[in-house]
């Protein structure tokens, strides 16, 4: 529901869309960084240079260096893999869980749909971070935990969305039209209801990807994320915090990267959604 509003709010004329182009470029860059970090990164991400600690951004180190002289640009690039994997994993878990739960809630029998709908509401009542914290404390801090915690915590929101999509598809005019043609419920479900309900999820997934990285970084920020020397972006940000006065770039840049990625993902997702709405 909220995501659709986002899409509406950011709607603008099609044509050449600089925001979309910039977003695609950013995501493409991060994808390349995640797949072949060595191709882009000037240094090894963990290479020590104890005599070059906390150097500000310069030509040699575009993003500066950290407290043990590691090159921040290289760490950000190598961190893309971990951040993106966490993001994809969490968004994937969230969307899959959302599809399963949302479908059960919308199409299950009387009891099943009541129970599942209620359960979705119950879990949705928890603030996301609170839920994620609970899961982290059960599973212990690790990348996998981040994936699961963020995926599970954000799933109820998407599940509600799927449920709404299916219900609205179920009540759509074309479903009645198909019924009037004598098509079987199964045929209507597979031909109309599910495809129409699931189609917007492509857009939702893209936006969820951005959000997952933001939440996962939040966990890293609280010290409940992946282990150093991993350079997952949230962990970089957290590690940089201790040097905020001497080396603000150590906090500023990783945060900026997270924001840029989340923005790019949101922008792409909302453009996909607009195109779906326009029927392209």
């Amino acid at each position: 529901m909220t995501v659709i509003d986002v899409a509406r709010a950011t709607r603008s004329r099609a044509r050449l869309d600089p925001a979309l182009l910039a977003s695609l470029a950013a995501v493409a860059f991060f994808l390349v960084a995640a797949v072949v970090p060595g191709f882009l990164s000037p240094h090894a991400p963990t290479a020590l240079a104890l005599d070059e600690a906390l150097e500000p951004p310069s030509f040699a180190h575009w993003f500066g260096t950290d407290q043990i002289g590691r090159d921040l640009l290289s760490r950000v690039i190598h961190g893309a893999r971990e951040s993106l994997l966490i993001g994809f994993g969490a968004a994937g878990i969230a969307i899959v869980a959302a599809i399963v739960l949302g479908t059960l809630a919308a199409l299950g029998g009387r009891v099943v749909s009541a129970v599942v709908s209620r359960a979705i509401e119950v879990v949705f009542a928890f603030p996301i971070l609170l839920l994620a914290l609970l899961l982290v404390s059960i599973l212990g801090a690790s990348a996998w935990t981040q994936v699961i915690a963020v995926g599970v915590s954000t799933a109820p929101g998407y599940a509600r969305m799927v449920r709404g999509q299916i219900l609205s598809a179920k009540n759509a005019g074309y479903v009645e039209a198909a019924r009037a043609l004598g098509h079987s419920p199964r045929r209507i479900l597979t031909n109309h209801v599910l495809p129409n309900a699931i189609r917007p999820l492509v857009a939702v997934f893209t936006m969820a990807l951005g959000q997952s990285i933001v939440w996962a970084s939040g966990l890293s920020f609280l010290g409940l994320g992946v282990a150093p020397p991993s350079s997952e972006w949230g962990a970089l940000l957290d590690a940089g915090r201790a040097f905020i006065m001497q080396a603000p770039w150590l906090t500023f840049i990783p945060g900026l990267i997270i924001v840029v990625f989340a923005l790019a993902a949101t922008t792409i997702g909302s453009r996909i959604q607009q195109n779906l709405e326009k029927g392209e």
Binding site: A180, L181, G182, N196
Partner: protein, 552 residues
């Protein structure tokens, strides 16, 4: 196009004209491209007279109306040789001064008061606001005045109504409240933009009566409408607009009875009614054979394709359909007419077995149709088709026209892929759509084209019966004419039976062999169409037909 100028009117400035417009042009600039929406409109409106602008959607009539109130919208470029309100030149009025003019000298009434009055505020407040904005007396005076105004426009129990919000009022009361707010300061000029569209015919008559009253008091009215029969009621002078231009202009009676311009003629001819029965409404294009349409005299009452016996339906304690019975014969068109809330659409859904009746029985082709499991009905469903008012929502938005039609062809037809493709092409041809429509998405089609696709889909199953639920209500009159012609062609060719549901008495009269009049969920009168319109028996039917605007 040439403008047909009639002698009786001149656009020269007339002394005492309340509103004079000469050479009005409106262009819209957006994203660098310019669209000219109004091209050279001129007229003069004298006190106590009514000038009507008639046209179909996109003709530029509403933009003209708004421009005269200084609200053409963003991106509008306005040029005019003259626009004057009384002696005042309106071409160079600052926004601040416009605010003093609007409401005080210019009243404005829009279509559908449900959305034209703020749904979150009591209607009394809206009327008071009109007074307040022009600094009219004290708050308590305004409150009293609002109630007086409501009373003056015929709202019963105005003290209570003033405190209610639009959704708590009936359509007629809402529209009256809107009129009350527009005439609050007794403006010299009232601009009424489609003031009766979407209203039931009885309510429409009441609203027109209000406008007549205002006119009688000396208010000048600029009426904007697509509906010639409405215009015929009160207009003294008519401007026919098409594509931003005035194509014909003259005294109301002349334009309506002896239209000169081909467009006006087409428009007048396209209006269905008793006099058009058995005739084409739209001029023939060259691709279809020019046939005069004989009435389908072959309608066989005895061969009942659809029988409805004493069905009733209640929703949450409210009876929507009460003991409705009828029989639809092969090749026959049975019209169901009624105002909103009369139960006609629910009756249609029961006939389609998309809604189950609480009581009564439906038989399709002699087989039980109600009260049996859906599984059992499914094989018979292809024999009864349906066309809705809003075809777009009845199409899966992901699917092309070709896929929609192909999907509708029953599987047990046993067609090969090639045969199927050919069948889709045939269907498109039957509804006079070009073959390339197959690859397009319904979203990209015009309203008339969509309705043709919907009809083609209904035809795909080779049905015996098609239920047409307000199937032409959303269309412009000329498009409506084409669709009605098409429906009659198809009926003749395939011996279809139509259950034709509409609120529009003219359309019903034009199409139906027999008519069912419904109100409050009950059938109050049933009979041969001509008989019902000529000599209605039931008081409700009589009231309905009396309120029907005089035929053009």
């Amino acid at each position: 196009m040439t403008i047909v100028e009639r002698q009786s009117t001149t656009v020269e400035r007339r002394a005492g004209a309340a509103l004079t417009v000469r050479g009005l042009r409106v262009d819209f600039t957006r994203d660098g491209s310019t669209r000219d929406v109004v091209r050279g409109v001129s007229f003069a409106l004298e006190p106590g007279r009514c000038v009507a602008i008639v046209g179909e959607s996109g003709s530029g009539k509403s933009v003209t109306a708004r421009t005269l109130a200084g609200l053409a919208g963003s991106g509008a470029v306005i040029e005019a040789d003259e626009i004057s309100l009384g002696a005042r030149d309106l071409t160079s009025v600052a926004e601040h001064d416009w605010r003093r003019i609007r409401g005080k000298q210019l009243g404005f009434i829009q279509q559908d008061a449900l959305v034209s009055l703020d749904p979150l505020r009591p209607v009394g407040r809206e009327i008071e606001e009109a007074l307040r904005l022009h600094g009219w007396r004290s708050r308590s005076d305004r409150r009293r005045k609002a109630i007086d105004l409501l009373r003056a426009v015929g709202v019963p129990d105005p003290e209570r109504r003033a405190l209610q919000r639009p959704h708590e009022l009936s359509g007629g009361l809402r529209q009256r409240a809107l009129i009350a707010s527009a005439i609050a300061l007794d403006p010299e000029i009232l601009i009424a933009d489609e003031p009766t569209t979407a209203l039931d015919v009885t309510v429409q008559a009441q609203v027109l009566a209000q406008l007549e009253t205002a006119k009688a008091r000396g208010t000048s009215i600029l009426l904007i409408s697509h509906d010639l029969s409405v215009v015929a009621q009160i207009a003294d002078e008519i401007l026919v607009m098409s594509g931003g231009e005035i194509v014909e202009q003259g005294a109301a009676n002349d334009v309506l009875t002896a239209p000169q311009h081909p467009y006006t003629r087409r428009l007048v001819d396209a209006v269905p009614g008793g006099h058009t029965r058995g005739e084409r409404l739209a001029p023939q294009d060259l691709t279809t054979p020019n046939l005069h349409l004989p009435r389908a005299a072959s309608a066989e009452r005895d061969d009942a394709v659809l029988e409805v016996r004493g069905v009733s339906k209640r929703f949450a304690g409210v009876t929507a359909v009460d003991q409705v019975s009828f029989t639809l014969g092969r090749g026959e068109t049975l019209g169901i007419v009624g105002e909103s809330g009369s139960g006609k659409s629910t009756t249609a859904r029961i006939a389609l077995a998309l809604e189950s009746a609480d009581e009564g029985e439906v038989r399709l082709l002699g087989t039980p149709w109600s009260g049996v499991p859906e599984r059992q009905r499914r094989s018979l469903r292809p024999r009864i088709g349906v066309v809705y008012q809003d075809p777009l929502s009845s199409f899966d938005p992901r699917w092309t026209v070709g896929r929609i039609l192909s999907d509708a062809i029953p599987a047990d037809a046993g067609l090969t892929r090639v045969e199927r493709t050919r069948r889709v092409a045939d269907l498109l041809a039957q509804v006079s759509l070009p073959a390339e429509t197959r690859g397009r998405l319904p979203l990209r089609l015009s309203g008339g084209q969509r309705q043709r696709v919907a009809i083609a889909r209904a035809l795909a199953t080779s049905p015996d019966v098609i239920v047409l639920d307000e199937a032409v209500s959303a269309l412009d009159v000329s498009v409506q004419a084409q669709i009605l012609d098409l429906l009659i062609d198809l009926q003749r060719e395939y011996g279809l039976s139509y259950l034709f549901i509409s609120h529009d008495l003219g359309v019903i009269h034009h199409m139906s062999d027999r008519v069912l009049v419904m109100t409050g969920g009950r059938v109050v009168e049933e009979g041969d169409a001509d008989r019902i319109f000529r000599a209605p028996e039931h008081p409700y039917t009589r009231a309905l037909i009396r309120s029907l605007p005089k035929p053009v």
